[in-house]
């Protein structure tokens, strides 16, 4: 597979998450009523790491939930493979909660749209904020992240691959050209 460039390594990822943790505390004036929800699959380890930093900073345990958007996707009728269904695990009442939704890459915005729908079926949170490690542009829906690890301007034919130790064995963010990935 032909990699175009590596844009983040393990320490860059860690620094970004740590900085976001500080931003969360600052913008919310603490962690009162804050709940993290990671979007499957790579939003989940990111949410857990964020919770670790928040504990270090504020000495507060922030609950972490998991949302699976498979059943809420708008592209099910166009994809030819079958996605794996793992389910959501929201172990807290989201009614009136301040939710911070976490994903690895923000691209068209469709995943986030699906995550909103999936989350709102559990109840009516007070507020939802969005946190992503990478914002690569090319939005197809009017969605904006509140917390961004790194803005990466990309071309449409490029693919951003976020690897995390928990799911992929290493921490890195790389750019590939689409043709190379498919080959």
């Amino acid at each position: 597979m032909n990699m175009k460039s590596k844009i983040m390594d393990a320490s860059a990822i860690e620094r970004a998450i740590r900085r976001i943790a500080h931003e969360i505390v600052e913008q919310n004036k603490g962690l009162e009523n804050i709940y993290l929800v990671g979007i499957r699959s790579r939003g989940v380890p990111l949410a857990k790491r964020l919770a670790d930093y928040l504990r270090q900073i504020e000495n507060t345990e922030v609950p972490v939930g998991i949302i699976d958007i498979t059943l809420y996707r708008d592209d099910l009728s166009t994809i030819s493979h079958q996605p794996v269904l793992k389910g959501s695990e929201i172990g807290f009442d989201i009614e009136n909660a301040n939710i911070i939704l976490i994903d690895d890459v923000l691209y068209t915005g469709r995943t986030v749209r699906a995550a909103f729908d999936a989350l709102l079926d559990f109840g009516r949170p007070h507020k939802i904020q969005l946190c992503v490690l990478i914002d690569r542009g090319h939005r197809e829906l009017p969605i904006k992240a509140n917390y961004v690890g790194k803005n990466v301007p990309t071309a449409q034919d490029e693919i951003i691959k976020v690897s995390l130790a928990e799911t992929d064995g290493e921490d890195s963010v790389k750019i590939f050209i689409r043709a190379d990935v498919e080959a």
Binding site: S41, L71, T78, I79, H81, Q82, P83, D121, G123
Partner: protein, 312 residues
């Protein structure tokens, strides 16, 4: 994440078309649907825009309702066809019925018919995926899947379990599908009932055991499943009388003691209380009977998602 299995556009005629891994994939998807059905808000948008038709040529309330509820919860549109009230009563052939429904844009058919092979015929004429909701004595795969799921979620696995199925085995499509599925998941199955209601050829085909004595059949059983005595069949002379059946084969507090302590009790319903099973057992802590009904919706949602939730 991409699955190793693709059930999109497949038919579900019986479980013999499905590998062990595929059955496990269905059970895992069922677990997710179960969580959805435990929420206050039970609706999913997944199958918005798809149309499902229940095509029933034989009476059934619970199976049809279970399918219709499952399809509605997934946001599919559901239309129902009943043989008695349709053009079929006016002499229309099955083939023309299917052509007509197909012209209305049905995406998937759920078929029940007293004649084995009818679901295949519906698929042949419609070219759409078909779920068999019971065809004669042949198969009832979604019932088997919900039975298997009910055991699987309670005990974690079917591997090495001993499952006793008691009653009118000859006329039961539930048993045939269960024998295939349970075997694939590594369970040992013994079927039990009067000689006239338990075909001797079953071990050869399904690798199960046959036992005519209830006490022997229940020995070491982890799960005991009663079947409905089809009372209407007594006229065929296959058993002398219902009380005689009850005397030898009823599942009661007394007889269930022959199985393992805390053995799970199952029944596909509808039950003849007092004939094949006593209320003291049907309504006991060990009974999974109402869980089976709830899991029927869960399993059917999972199957509809897997067969229809994507490009076929």
């Amino acid at each position: 994440m991409q699955s190793k299995f693709n059930l999109l556009g497949r038919n579900l005629f019986d479980l013999d078309d499905y590998s062990t891994d595929e059955i496990v994939a269905i059970l895992e998807a069922t677990q997710v649907m179960k969580q959805i059905n435990l929420r206050d808000y039970k609706k999913l948008p997944t199958l918005k825009g798809k149309t499902v038709c229940t095509l029933f040529f034989e009476n059934s309330t619970r199976t049809r309702m279970s399918f219709e509820l499952a399809a509605s919860r997934m946001s599919a549109d559901v239309v129902s066809f009943s043989a008695e009230t349709s053009a079929l009563a006016k002499g229309e052939s099955l083939q023309d019925t299917v052509y007509t429904l197909n012209a209305m844009g049905i995406d998937l058919y759920i078929v029940r018919h007293s004649c084995p092979g009818s679901p295949q015929l519906v698929h042949k004429h419609s070219s759409k995926p078909v779920i068999n909701a019971g065809d004669g004595r042949h198969a009832h795969p979604t019932q088997a899947l919900l039975d298997i799921f009910s055991i699987w979620e309670r005990l974690g696995s079917l591997k090495g379990l001993r499952i006793a199925i008691v009653g009118d085995v000859t006329h039961s499509r539930v048993v045939r599908s269960n024998l295939i599925g349970m075997k694939k998941l590594g369970a040992e199955v013994v079927v039990c009932g009067p000689r006239t209601l338990v075909p001797g050829y079953l071990p050869e085909i399904y690798g199960c055991e046959v036992e005519y004595d209830l006490k022997t059949a229940l020995k070491n059983a982890d799960v005991v499943m009663g079947l409905r005595m089809q009372i209407e069949r007594q006229r065929e002379g296959l058993f002398p009388g219902l009380d005689e059946y009850t005397r030898h084969y009823v599942l009661s507090k007394e007889t269930i003691r022959w199985a393992k302590k805390d053995a799970l009790i199952m029944h596909p319903g509808p039950m003849n209380r007092g004939i094949e099973i006593l209320p003291e057992i049907a309504d006991s802590e060990q009974s999974l009977i109402l869980k089976q009904v709830a899991n029927g919706v869960n399993v059917r949602m999972a199957i509809l998602f897997l067969m229809l939730g994507g490009k076929a």
